[in-house]
């Protein structure tokens, strides 16, 4: 039983945390691709920007949350989402719109976004410094230990406060996005433009509005992902940047341009990562007596070492591109 608790803590919870963050990031990437047909490499640093805005606001008004009983950072999140959405729209106006107006190939947009990512990273570093800073400025990070009511179970299930917020907010964001895309006039127009931009225009849909709405949504979601990640760990200017590969892997696994695919892809990549670095020795230990004597269990039975975690999304990415380039759900072939 203790082993099962260990599994829940290190795979179920850890995988859900990673998966949620990848999923929210990948939704943004996939939406941008479906409307503008290019891979937006600056997405991770837009996430960092969102988290940085939360850090600034929390540092400025550290006591706001205590009065209500939630972490201040969480109260600042909606404001940071707004600022990040504005940044995303601004970046589009300044850098991507002129490129689009020239009718450049998607690869030029991709390289442009690479430039934007470097610029953003530099700017954020300039103001935040390079070290890690906790988003819990005045608040305490609660850690919940749930003891299971079974005989002989000593280890509790451990879950932290930001992780609970992460699950709730992910769920809310996904449901809200679903309702937006399927019920609202603007959401349907967005899907229409993703399907057939010329016909969308011929129907009288203003494609510039749709592009702006896409950036607002992608920016707001990026702020959520960046902030929740930084709440779970700490804020670092390069934290999100290292998630760029798994987030793209998630978007491609799910089928590029397919928002639900991105959610599924996020969890697939997240769980694949945690399962790959999980030490299976722990689960096999109870059966040690029934194993043949010549089979000695090594003390670390993980597929890959934690320090090589990044090979997992990389492998998934390559495998998907080779064997199923449209992704799990049918997406667009890049």
């Amino acid at each position: 039983m203790n082993e099962l608790v260990f599994f829940i803590n290190n795979v179920v919870i850890a995988g859900s945390v990673t998966g949620s963050i990848y999923a929210i990031g990948a939704i943004g990437v996939t939406l941008i691709f479906s409307i503008m047909r290019f891979a937006h490499f600056a997405h991770a640093d837009i996430m960092t920007f969102g988290a940085f805005m939360v850090l600034l606001l929390t540092t400025a008004f550290p006591a706001v949350g205590a009065s209500i009983g939630v972490p201040t950072a969480l109260i600042m999140l909606p404001l940071a989402m707004l600022l990040t959405a504005a940044l995303a729209v601004g970046i589009d106006k300044a850098f991507y719109k002129p490129l689009r107006a020239h009718g450049v190939k998607p690869i030029v947009m991709v390289i442009g976004s690479l430039g934007v990512t470097l610029m953003l990273q530099g700017l954020i570093r300039l103001f935040s410094g390079t070290g890690g800073q906790s988003l819990y400025v005045d608040d305490r990070k609660e850690i919940f230990r749930l003891a299971l009511p079974f005989e002989g179970v000593r280890a509790p299930i451990v879950i932290t406060e930001p992780q609970i917020y992460l699950f709730v907010i992910t769920l809310v964001a996904v449901v809200a996005l679903h309702l937006f895309l399927n019920r609202s006039r603007l959401g349907k127009a967005m899907r229409a433009m993703s399907d057939n931009p010329e016909l969308a225009q011929a129907s009288g849909i203003n494609t510039n509005t749709i592009v702006a709405v896409t950036w607002v949504i992608a920016g707001a979601l990026a702020a959520i992902a960046g902030t929740l990640l930084s709440l779970d760990v700490t804020f670092k200017p390069d934290l999100s940047f290292f998630l760029l590969l798994p987030i793209f892997a998630a978007a491609i696994v799910g089928g590029v341009g397919h928002p639900y695919g991105a959610i599924a892809g996020g969890f697939v990549v997240g769980f694949a990562e945690t399962l790959a670095v999980f030490n299976w020795n722990v689960l096999l230990r109870p059966f040690r007596d029934s194993l043949p004597t010549w089979l000695e269990l090594p003390s670390n039975l993980a597929f890959v070492g934690t320090e090589y975690k990044i090979v997992v999304p990389f492998f998934i990415l390559v495998a998907i591109l080779v064997w199923r380039p449209t992704g799990l759900f049918k997406g667009k072939v890049i």
């Binding site: 006039r185 127009a189 899907r191 057939n196 009288g204 849909i205 203003n206």
Partner: protein, 226 residues
């Protein structure tokens, strides 16, 4: 009117007049500029010389969304539906600029194309070619156009569906919508046309009523295959 893609002219002096409530049919050999003509009317390519008037107002080089507002609807030949949207959503997109009309127009469109009622919650990409054409025409009708532009609505359809589409075109016209369409099936199309335009090399070669063109031996010999 002269026009084409970029500065290259594909249309070299075309002249067409269509009265409200009329069916106009553009026929002619491949490469005559039939589809180009339609696209030019809908503002999808440059008009380099001359003008296009709708109800006496110049409309050339206006963006498509403004043309939709002025009562023009366009059904392209290919890629004329949103494949991943349901039939109903496709139709709703047609009334994007007039959301208050959606309910009333949906009923009217389902009236024109009864087969769509049953399929309304199915993605348009899963429909057959003929049903897709109905969705495409329905989408354009949702904006209550006074003039509907159809680019080869029967291309690639079985004869059964072809007749049905021509039938619908007549019905839509009877409801007071002007139609300008490009057709490969010239004989059938001219039979329902108030006005026919035979286009060749970017110019009109013959212009007359549909019936007169069908009866004209010159037109028959050179363009209708005898």
């Amino acid at each position: 009117m002269h026009g084409g893609y970029g500065s290259m002219n594909i249309l070299n002096g075309v002249n067409m007049t269509l009265y409200a409530d009329e069916v106009g049919v553009i026929v002619g050999p491949n490469g005559a500029g039939k589809s180009t003509m339609l696209k030019a009317v809908f503002g999808l390519l440059n008009v380099n010389q001359g003008e296009i008037l709708l109800n006496g107002q110049p409309i050339h080089n206006l963006p498509p969304n403004q043309l939709v507002e002025r009562g023009m609807g366009f059904v392209p030949q290919e890629k004329n539906v949103f494949p991943s949207l349901t039939v109903k959503e496709n139709l709703e997109m047609g009334a994007y600029l007039k959301p208050q009309n959606v309910k009333r127009m949906l009923e009217q469109v389902y009236d024109f194309f009864p087969p769509l009622v049953e399929k309304r919650h199915q993605p348009a990409g899963e429909l057959s070619g003929g049903q897709r054409q109905m969705v495409a025409m329905g989408r354009a009708l949702m904006a209550e156009p006074s003039l509907l532009l159809l680019d080869e609505p029967t291309a690639g359809l079985s004869p059964l569906y072809m007749n049905e589409i021509f039938d619908r075109v007549k019905k839509i016209n009877a409801a007071g919508v002007g139609i300008l369409m490009v057709e490969q099936n010239a004989k059938q199309a001219l039979a329902i046309a108030d006005k026919g335009f035979v286009l060749a090399a970017g110019q009109n070669r013959f212009t007359d009523t549909g019936a007169a063109l069908l009866a004209d031996p010159d037109v028959a010999k050179s363009f209708l295959g005898g």
